[in-house]
């Protein structure tokens, strides 16, 4: 069971070899056994899961099953889920039971996929190690002394430990791809606007995008088919024809032009990561791809630009948490203003407060042009670099993160050191391009290494094709932590 792909699980359900309830029970048992050590879940509610599974079984029995009906999935605790505690990893929402479903949750419910629970995450998705969660750090299943990455660290860890066959994540600056890399799974951040942000607790609205996380590219393609689609409740949701993201999985790679950005293989990249990524390039060449060196000259500015734009948007988005309409309220206060100030001081963790302060500063009178406007202009230069690069190549390839999983606590006192982890992932968010991470090897310590693909706008089917062909030729994505088998 823990090895089964989504399509294999779906086939077993369709053939009535297993029921959705039995499947859910097996995963719930595995969660009960492994989660105390990994802390990948904030909320597990077996009763709710089994009710949803029973409904899926009824659909299957009635002949009304969709492709993934009955297959369970875990959801990042950033998605509002009707009747479920939805904390966003924060004390601010430690008691918030969402009164409605996020669009993404609605889609998985409509597909008949039972929820296994809500996964742990960095507070308000602000972090690259999952250590900022109010509910405690998540441990990397490959080595529990190491971080799983973040912010979708619970999602990545639960898939890596096969506590769930798949999970949802969100990615503002790398929060799907970096934890996928550090935990040895596959994760995809779609083109901005493909997946509705409705009911997904906002961090930086011009960058936030939800996507699938699972062992393989094929799994991610099936999940993307469920997740994408126009939603009038999200003003940036794109009105496009529905696509089948599995359609190109089996296409050969002959003639594929792979762009290698020289800036992504420069100083700062761990040599073992570089070697694994270069070996993956060799593998793709064997499959018929050619390579071309490209330049993303402004990508080195992606981190400074991101740490102006994302906090600016966050300071605005997080102003809604004031102790009036939902979540935490300070117990003692002298006035309305004092209630706001104390509620926010007590309800937010250190990293969230840091980013709100940066945002408030860069948007404040006299600094807007120098910071916010300058960052938006360089954002265009970064996007233009990609446009130029895609004239010479079909897909861009590089490392997902500069290193493998680091030790818990190793970088938590140095925000800048932590931010540098997202060096290679942030540019795609700023440009709004799709990006994915897939496993491509292990370092000498046995920790997974991630390979990043960045595609042109709406080229998810092509990226999944490249990833699937690579995964047919290699077995990195099917490796599991020995002691958790």
């Amino acid at each position: 069971m823990p090895d089964a792909s989504l399509s294999a699980l779906a086939a077993q359900l369709a053939a009535k070899q297993v029921s959705s309830r039995e499947l859910a029970r097996q995963y719930l048992d595995r969660i009960a056994a492994l989660n105390p050590a990994i802390n990948a879940f904030i909320t597990v509610d077996a009763e709710k899961t089994l009710l949803e599974a029973a409904a899926a079984d009824a659909r299957i029995a009635a002949g009304q099953a969709g492709p993934l009906t009955g297959v369970p999935i875990a959801h990042k605790d950033i998605f509002c889920t009707d009747g479920w505690l939805t904390t966003c990893g924060s004390k601010m929402l430690h008691n918030f039971v969402a009164p409605y479903d996020a669009h993404v949750i609605q889609r998985f419910k409509a597909a008949g996929m039972p929820s296994l629970g809500k996964t742990n995450m960095d507070e308000f998705a602000m972090g690259s190690s999952n250590e900022t969660s109010y509910f405690g750090a998540v441990k990397n299943p490959w080595n529990t002394a190491c971080v799983p990455g973040g912010s979708s660290g619970g999602a990545a860890a639960c898939v890596a430990a096969r506590m769930a066959p798949a999970a949802t994540g969100t990615d503002t600056g790398g929060s799907i791809r970096q934890p996928a890399a550090l935990c040895g799974i596959t994760g995809l951040k779609p083109t901005y606007g493909l997946v509705s942000r409705y009911g997904m607790i906002a961090f930086a609205s011009s960058l936030d995008q939800a996507g699938p996380m699972a062992p393989s590219a094929e799994d991610c393609a099936l999940l993307l088919n469920v997740m994408t689609g126009f939603d009038p409740n999200d003003s940036t949701s794109l009105e496009r024809e529905k696509e089948d993201y599995t359609r190109d999985l089996d296409q050969p790679l002959a003639g594929l032009r792979v762009g290698l950005p020289r800036e992504f293989f420069a100083e700062g990249l761990n040599s073992e990561v570089a070697a694994a990524v270069e070996a993956a390039v060799t593998e793709l060449k064997k499959l018929g791809a050619t390579t071309v060196e490209i330049s993303l000259a402004n990508s080195k500015l992606a981190i400074p630009v991101y740490y102006v734009l994302a906090p600016a948007e966050a300071s605005s988005n997080l102003s809604r948490f004031d102790g009036v309409r939902y979540g935490y309220r300070a117990p003692d206060y002298a006035s309305l203003d004092d209630m706001y100030c104390k509620t926010r001081a007590q309800g937010f963790g250190a990293e969230v407060k840091r980013r709100i302060l940066i945002g408030a500063y860069v948007l404040s009178h006299g600094y807007y042009d120098a910071y916010y406007l300058q960052a938006q202009k360089i954002r265009r230069l970064i996007a233009d670099d990609f446009n130029q690069a895609f004239k010479a190549c079909d897909i861009i390839l590089g490392p997902t993160a500069p290193g493998t999983a680091f030790k818990l606590g190793e970088k938590s006192d140095d925000p800048v050191e932590m931010y540098l982890n997202d060096l290679y992932t942030i540019p795609a968010n700023l440009a709004g391009l799709p990006g994915m991470s897939l496993p491509c090897g292990f370092d000498a310590k046995g920790l997974p290494i991630g390979l990043q693909l960045v595609g042109n706008y709406f080229s998810e089917a092509k990226m999944l094709n490249v990833a699937h062909q690579y995964q047919r030729a290699t077995d990195w994505h099917s490796r599991q932590p020995e002691d958790l088998k």
Binding site: P232, S235, V305, F348, R354, V416
Partner: protein, 95 residues
């Protein structure tokens, strides 16, 4: 550029986050390392570049001016810290 502890207290005030002197001091040092990183973008000449606010050129959609939402105030207020007769309760602001 370097923030002073007073700057930190001013922006904390703007953001409605209570902060004491010791916290302002500690936060100042961390924010300054972040602003040192941010300062690297100041060297770029962007005089002729149009700012990019968004990845896609999207426009606000219009819809018919009809009610589409049902009244769910009871469900929404059930998660509020303090509610009475359909109203959110906050400390008194008008004498």
């Amino acid at each position: 550029m370097s923030l002073t502890p007073d700057d930190v207290k001013r922006i904390a005030r703007l953001a409605r986050i209570e902060i004491d002197d010791a916290q302002a001091q500690a936060t100042q040092a961390q924010l300054n390392t972040i602003f040192d990183l941010i300062a690297t973008m100041q060297a770029v000449d962007t005089a002729s570049i149009a700012p990019m606010a968004h990845a896609q050129e999207v426009y606000q959609r219009l819809r018919d001016d009809v009610v589409t939402e049902t009244d769910r105030h009871a469900a929404f207020q059930a998660v509020a810290p303090a509610v009475e007769n359909g109203l959110y309760l906050v400390p008194k602001v008008i004498e």
